[in-house]
Symmetry: C2
Subunit: 245 residues, 2 copies
């Protein structure tokens, strides 16, 4: 049995996310599984490094699957890219150790959130950025971001569904920089709760707009009440850029 690792890029605009519970096949996972199953003439399930929400993009999502298929890695890649829609792209196909598991073995992840902060948005980035026309205070956002670094209970910054699951995560860094009309917020952490990046971004934007003070972050985190944090920033600005093993 071969264990095959996929590196995947996708424009999430049209999809209901990487994987959705329930009745829908309009997910990136199911699009890939459909083509793989066609290729192998039997049903194949893939394991993703984690879910991405509806509308969220990925530059390097990782998944793996097991199969006895005889095609070369290059042939698998070409077959997939031939049959997949053109907003999903298999960048790499590699054979890995049989114990490799895309979700359990993921050590850390990077997410990038892109904000368009020019007077006029650009049509070319409209699906990949969140548009904020008013000037925001980047320095205040940077100060606020410092409160999230390290190991914390991020309960206030997640839409947790299960009460059993731990909401403690370690965040290694949040880098905020202005690139032309864009504000880029790069997250690096061991893992992320459901909606965590988007809620932190939504809260940081409110700091940038002067609606909250950087030091308010501490109390929000301690109180662990979702309603005390900011709004969930839109999915379209978010992109999973890296999964490390």
């Amino acid at each position: 049995m071969r264990n095959i690792k996929l590196t995947i890029e996708y424009d999430g605009s049209r999809y209901n996310g990487w994987q959705k519970l329930g009745d829908t096949d309009n997910t990136i996972q199911s699009k890939i599984e459909k083509v793989l199953s066609l290729m192998a003439s039997r049903s194949i399930e893939i394991i993703g490094s984690g879910r991405t929400d509806a509308g969220v993009h990925a530059r390097n999502q990782i998944a793996n699957f097991k199969s006895t298929i005889k095609l070369s890695n290059q042939e698998i890649r070409d077959y997939l890219n031939h049959y997949l829609p053109n907003d999903i792209m298999i960048k790499k196909v590699e054979e890995v150790d049989e114990r490799f598991h895309a979700r359990y073995n993921a050590k850390s992840k990077k997410y990038l959130y892109r904000i368009w902060n020019g007077e006029i948005p650009t049509v070319f980035e409209r699906k990949y950025t969140y548009d904020i026309p008013n000037k925001v205070d980047i320095e205040a956002m940077k100060k606020a971001a410092q409160y999230f670094i390290g190991e914390h209970d991020f309960k206030a910054f997640s839409s947790v569904k299960s009460k059993k699951k731990s909401t403690i995560k370690e965040l290694y860094s949040i880098d905020i920089k202005r690139v032309g009309s864009e504000i880029q917020i790069l997250f690096h952490g061991e893992g992320f709760l459901y909606n965590m990046v988007r809620i932190i971004v939504g809260t940081l934007i409110e700091v940038g707009e002067g609606k909250r003070r950087p030091e308010d972050m501490k109390k929000i985190m301690e109180d662990k009440i979702r309603q005390n944090a900011g709004v969930t920033a839109p999915a379209q600005g978010l992109i999973l850029t890296e999964v490390n093993y």
Copy 2:
């Protein structure tokens, strides 16, 4: 009567070009005219700096129209952007001299052609680049481009419809550079014939692929036969970046 100049950005993917003769309102010009006419409560026609083909994009297309409308420039811009689809954006509205004519007064234009020349295309640029996976010889393309600089009869490099119209144009520069996985070809000229940039690009690509020699450009130009030049490169890679007055 006010004379109003518009600076327009658009993603041309969904449209039949800036303007089309005949029965269609799926053009960028007609989308803008519809909203302007709604705003002014009377039919308004706009004059573009020139047409762009179906699927071609623009970062700074210029148009003008005359109207007695009492709204401020800012109000006109906001009204247009509110009602236009989100792949058409009015970047600037200015009041100009009554003699200003977006087409007749255009002194020069710049077009950018973007080629994706990586092993794997990126989904995020799929609508704005032409994908060539094989390695191309940029130096040969640069040599070939030199034959087009200056005043020439570009008949072989255009899909001319009228026989009366002159096919002599002056090209000021063609800059070719590699930016990461991308090859960018920037054209600056006094004006361009129908399909001229796309046919020159198609021919330059064939030089880059070793199918033609740079010095062949001279004879193709002299013979003035469209069939002797290369294929017309796809519209999606082309973007009108600047119109100078």
